[in-house]
Symmetry: C2
Subunit: 471 residues, 2 copies
């Protein structure tokens, strides 16, 4: 055997493609692999934008981001009341329906959201049936707008008119206030893309009984520190997006004396509603998250995403400090578990404003603490932890409020940084339900939607352009 020019003890540092490291390792020699990749997958325009934002602008962006993270981590959203949307939501026209996702003309909306809007129009008594509701919506006789334009967030295919009760959440330190409707619960419901008589009746029950009952409970119990309760839910295995059962249960016991004191006509219907709705806390958490994002988005020059929202047709984000939407096509929901007889071909695309949770340290960032979410991500707690790690790679900070016991009580990743998203090519993964694409039969499964990269790249360019102008 020929004598090598190398010493006997070769130790290797490999940068980039792992196959070279694997080859050295196969020969039994020590090797340290550096997992380096070409930034932004070699997109030279993106590299130039990153060069601006990591170069002369880096200190200013980092400072802005630190303030955004501080607001998201330290703000104390308080649920103070429940009132009809029309009495409190800014800019809600008296004949307007608010919907999830970026704005879009009615005709371009997906089938589940159109059905939900029709159900909302009937529940408002603007039309006697869904056929007439369709006519009014198609003719712009009823206006529609993105809920996010009105400080409001709505999950899945939720659509609401002025009579629907909204949770009012105040962030007093930040001077912001956000809204979310009362969750409609599982089953035959409009937010799952149903426009049946039962779905419409459920909207009326919320307006006539459930909303007023919660309002009365809050009057008697006082305001609720939403994220203090949310943190307890996370410690009990909720991610607060796909699973909100522990937080809902805790809230039910906390409010129990006030529920017991409700008047006869509200008490039993509200109790049946809450006992049957393990998702109640979802909308409460969303409104709280939105109240913090409304504060965070006032910080100029940040690279952190403060809006991320889908309507089943388009997917849009906004950065702190800018009113601009960056919009692309809504992705399908992958890594899914389907109800029997369903699959990708019967599934609508990703929908809902609930991804505001992922921007605020809940949902995907909290997956590593949730056995229930693990079932959708491969089955083991290590799979769930990998989802949290994915967010850690693209976020600017860590929650001091939400901690994950199975991951050594580490805080959840907080504040999605568009620079890291584009540089690494890793976009947020959102745990979510799946609706039928066009049959109006409601939920058909649940899974993980991977956000599309294009809108993050567009947002990065916009920020780099703004920064270049200020230098």
């Amino acid at each position: 055997m020929a004598r090598s020019a190398l010493t006997d003890d070769v130790e290797v540092v490999n940068v980039g493609l792992p196959m070279f490291a694997d080859a050295v390792r196969a020969q039994g020699r020590p090797v340290r692999h550096v997992d380096w990749r070409i930034p932004a997958d070699g997109d030279l325009d993106a590299v130039r934008a990153l060069t601006v934002l990591h170069g002369d602008s880096a200190a200013a962006v980092d400072e802005a981001n630190a303030e955004v993270v501080r607001r998201l981590d330290q703000g104390v959203p308080t649920l103070v009341g429940v009132v009809p949307a029309g009495t409190v939501v800014p800019g809600l026209h008296e004949r307007m329906i608010l919907h999830s996702g970026p704005p879009l003309p009615y005709a371009e909306h997906c089938d589940p959201l159109r059905r939900s809007m029709r159900a909302a129009v009937v529940a408002e008594d603007w039309a006697p049936d869904v056929e007439e509701a369709e006519r009014l919506l198609a003719a712009d006789d009823v206006l529609i707008d993105a809920a996010n334009h009105h400080d409001t967030v709505v999950p899945m295919a939720t659509a609401i008119g002025p009579s629907q009760p909204v949770l009012v959440v105040e962030n007093r330190e930040g001077g912001t206030r956000a809204f979310s409707p009362v969750n409609q619960g599982p089953g035959d419901v409009a937010w799952f893309g149903r426009d049946t008589g039962a779905a419409i009746a459920r909207l009326r029950l919320l307006a006539e009984t459930v909303g007023p009952a919660i309002g009365r409970i809050l009057d008697s119990a006082g305001g609720l520190d939403v994220l203090a309760l949310a943190a307890q839910g996370i410690a009990m295995g909720d991610d607060l997006h796909m699973r909100t059962q522990s937080a809902t249960n805790l809230l039910a016991r906390t409010w129990l004396p006030h529920i017991a004191a409700l008047p006869d006509d509200q008490r039993v219907p509200f109790a049946e509603y809450l006992a049957g709705n393990h998702l109640f806390f979802l909308n409460v958490a969303m409104a709280a998250a939105k109240s913090l994002q409304l504060w965070a988005e006032q910080v100029p020059g940040s690279s952190i995403v403060t809006t991320m929202s889908r309507n089943g047709t388009t997917f849009g984000i906004k950065l702190a400090g800018s009113p601009e939407w960056f919009i692309t096509e809504a992705p399908p929901v992958g890594e899914a578990l389907y109800y029997s007889g369903h699959g990708p071909e019967t599934s609508a695309r990703d929908i809902g404003d609930s991804a505001v949770l992922e921007l605020t340290g809940m949902g995907g960032p909290a997956a590593g603490g949730s056995p229930a979410v693990a079932a959708f991500l491969g089955g083991t707690m290590a799979d769930a932890a990998a989802a949290t790690e994915g967010f850690a790679a693209i976020t600017a900070g860590t929650s001091t409020r939400f901690t994950l016991p199975p991951m050594g009580f580490r805080g959840t990743p907080l504040g999605v940084d568009v620079r890291k998203v584009v540089e690494l090519g890793i976009t947020p993964k959102v745990t979510t339900g799946i609706l039928h694409v066009d049959a109006g039969t409601g939920q058909v499964g649940a899974g993980v939607a991977t956000a599309p990269l294009a809108c993050f790249t567009a947002a990065l360019h916009d920020l780099a352009g703004r920064q270049a102008r200020t230098l």
Copy 2:
């Protein structure tokens, strides 16, 4: 350097003391350490008993143990009602108080349990005040007995008379039925060793309002599959001994419509009671566990412990298939966190029948899934997992019902085998509260009590003797 008689590649197997393995490892050579110890710490009598039980009797004992584990794992205890103890508990004399732990004359009981018995006597209206109650108890004008003698289990220093409401839990397949009083809640309460007016008033509230309310809820909601709900609580971070909050919260939401339908005079007081008592499920889980142990203890010739109970003075166990108590002194509670101003010198010794949970796959065996319990065991989830592993070393089976997400969804250890306890010198560790030793001021902390070995060794000898006679 002198040439060794050994080859260059020495690999070592070390058995016993680890220091030899450490020395080899320090020289950079491979070593496999076998953690062998002298069985039963060299107690030759115990080794002889183990020789019987691992020798000719092994197959019979293993078969009996497998049946015990099957009953503990597969039985379905159902909470069917709540009625006054005097109407249902077998052998409960009309002027008798049941207490935790092995039987003991009144004068030998610890201060907290004597106070609790006095409070119970006043709550029964047998005495106008605790001074007169003390006179009646000291004079045997009121009888006392171990709750365990009456198919009943009571936590901490609980003492109950015939008027106190008991949870009735049926194990239909096994034909057994067990009882536990309704939990008194936190604060100024008799089960924490208080004999104040408030503690007595709480017992009366349970008898007059809370017990009847739960009975009515069960009439309306139907029986409760206790351990199905318990398993959900464990998946949400309860160990179901030190922490029962998730199970209590889930039960509150499950029962909510039936609570809302209670009559006016029960509804608000019951709601306030349940909202303020995160320990409600403790007694429910204990009664369910006892109903399974009553079935398991009918199996002859088993080495599995089916009763483990403490009264603050003595600590006793029983084996399946034998009515015999093996009793020794109650241990102190160690590894404790104390309320400000308290410590070992102000603490009563280990007390309560709640260790029935540790015999049934809950409590310590479930510690590895409980972030709240981890705080008492060192702070990390690895510390909590070590408590579960400690039980795994001394148990005969694994629960298929209770699984621990942070430990890869493994089942909790089930069925404490006295052979393994004595052979390894590892006794069960029980997570528990701590009461003031003599001031009647209630709870002063919480910690971990390590069961004393002596009663396990005595039980082992008794079983070996019984087995030797049948060979």
